[in-house]
Amino acid sequence: MTPLLEFREVTKEYHGVPAVQDVSLSITEGEVHALLGENGAGKSTLTKMAAGVVPITRGKILLAGEELSFSSPADALRKGIAMVFQETSLVPSLTVAQNLYLGDEKAFNRLRPLYIAAQQFLQSLNFPVDPTANVASLGAAQRQMVEIARAVRKNARIIIFDEPTATLTPEEKQHFFELIERLKERGCSVIFISHALEEALAISDRITILRDGKLVITDETGKFDRDSIISAMVGRDLSGELYGGEDGKRRVRPYGKRVLSVQNVSMGRMVRNTSFAAYAGQVTGIFGLIGSGRTETAKIVSGVIKRNFFHGGVTRLGSKSVRYRTPAPSVRDGIAYVTEDRKVEGIFETMSVAESIEIGKLASPSDKSVILRGSEARDLAEHWTKSLNIRAISSDVPVIELSGGNQQKVVIAKALVQDPQLIIFDEPTRGVDVGAIAEIHAVINRLADQGLAVVMISSYLPEILNMSDRILVARKGRIVEEFSGDEATEENIMYAAVH
């Protein structure tokens, strides 16, 4: 029998750098297929090619034996391939029913029949969602249901989920799994990308593991267990280094001087009355699900966004009470923020490695120069490329042409060159290749050993567990729990984060 969807030696390159390399994979009808792999392994890229979001560089994708060539997600959807994104693609200001029928409205679009049809349709799927509710008012799980309903309504034969459970509570997850079962019964194939191995083991029929853009293994789920998946994901040599935190052998650094203390800080609906502290010579890890206000809290501390004017709380740097309206004065006080989104807030597209690092130096408090010397930028670049092991042909290469990991190292160098006393890493290894993850972790450890106060925000549990001396857990805009690095376990952190 011909598989429903087949990848044949598919390759995708960005600027000549392969993100997916010669992957051949087939999905049969009605199966649940889990795609696993580290950050940057190529899972998203692979599925995005099937959903028409990104074009293919080489190779073929066949749908029921027929070669696919489409230029847009809408085109893919028409052929029966739907992708449900992490950041949902619903229009928040419209109602559920309007979102369901978006793009298929009649010229004279009456709402009442729309609501009735939507109600019947949602009921047939057994989704408890009110079709007249605004999407903005829905929780993550319900939004996802709407997305799925939309895909089903368009007769999608293959539904691709990108990290569907990351934002869900355990109960919602249970609903989601049932939903996948129901999709399967209807004959839909499901591909889902996940970081949660247990989920993949529980609900999938087959598992494919990618590493560095290449397919490592595809097999029946029953033939895998947690350990074999991990070793396939990271390669044997790295697994100990990256995920060795479980046996509790790691040492916890002692408290230094209190560098940062945040008391009752609030900002809009995202940060609610949160309090915590960070100490010199330690890595303070902050874990939380999306929407827990971690990034916003970090941005308040570093002045990227302002806290509330009234009842905004107090931020103390050392013993000084500070309230930053812009990042420039916080940089002057020795706070560096390494962003989670380097494309948007991290790198300068037109600049070379040397120029980027130089900007950091020029903006730092110690720099008094007015007129610049070219040699200084070169020396800086040489020092930092060596110290952080930035792999670029030369320091005159544009940052945009480097791999994700090396871009991230440039962003880190740009912050470190300012000689901060407090450095906040927001998802330091997001979109970073496997080899570079270990190197970035080593840099973070080195900084803490040198006596800096390091705050590391991450939604990746092994990273938090393995790196942090103290672990703070954020939920709904505040820090709700604190663990010492040696007593925390995945279970109790997760428990604090979701309940």
Binding site: Y14, E349, K414
Partner: protein
Amino acid sequence: MRPIGLNLLRSRKMGTQEMIVFLIFVALFAGFSVFLPGFLNANNIALLLQAVSVLGILSVAMGVIVIGGAIDLSIVALMAMSVAWTLQLINGGMPVPAALAIGLASVALVGLINGFLVAYVEIPPLFSTLATAGCIYGFGRFVLISQDTVYLPTNLGVIEELGKGRVFGVPMPVIVFAVIAAVVGLLLKYTKFGRFTYAAGDNRAAARITGVPVRPLIVAQFVLSAFIAFIAGLVQATAINSMNTRITDSLLVYEIILVVVLGGIGLSGGKGGIRNVVVGTLLIGTFLNGMTIMDIQFTTQNAIKGLILLTAIVIDQIVNPRDEQTSQQGDI
């Protein structure tokens, strides 16, 4: 996939586009010299250089703003009204230094207002400077200046040399253009102000997080460009013995944008440099002069200019896309 040719154009430092524009200039100049009687004579070249210089000085000012990621549509209004007012004050009996000081103070104020609106109130510069252009012209004509055209006073002294003087046979406007281009070029390349301007124009959020004082920087850019516009106005007025405030209604501001974009400073910010302005100025100046000699009707000229500007902006959008999503290292 982008066409290979465009990838070539996207290569580092815009060297290729600069080269192409320069070659077109050379070809155009040679073509006009051969086929247009009256193009290559001393009189016309002097006229061309003078016209080109004012355009060039204004384009340097615009270049700084565009590299910083904004645009200034009020630059011509500012030039015309500030200089016209200054000349009128002198005509009314005010001492020259005092009038110049008032003129400079007024452009500085407008620069501050423009910068404040863009940086602190965060209005897109396209709208805010369009509005301030209207305000400057309206306020100036209503309150400050009684006639459309203000003639040059006779007691200007050295200032008059700005437009009329020659040094070793080189017209003074050309020298002013060269000096301003050199100074601003060095400023952009070798000072903190310059590096920050590129950084903020390239990625404002990243520059801000790195600790670059983005807002004061934008204000400084607008003040700097306002000063340069004032100098351009003095050169213009002294060269042709008057300042016609109606120039505000002309297509001059689009010619300036044309020079900047065509020269290779992408409207998306952070790209290009003063060399691009010089190359763009040479090409557009020659082109405009050629059209005048060919006696092409004013309206036809405008249509041609508009068409070229449109083409240049479309090409700029393709060569320097604002949304880099598709051409970046994707989230893998």
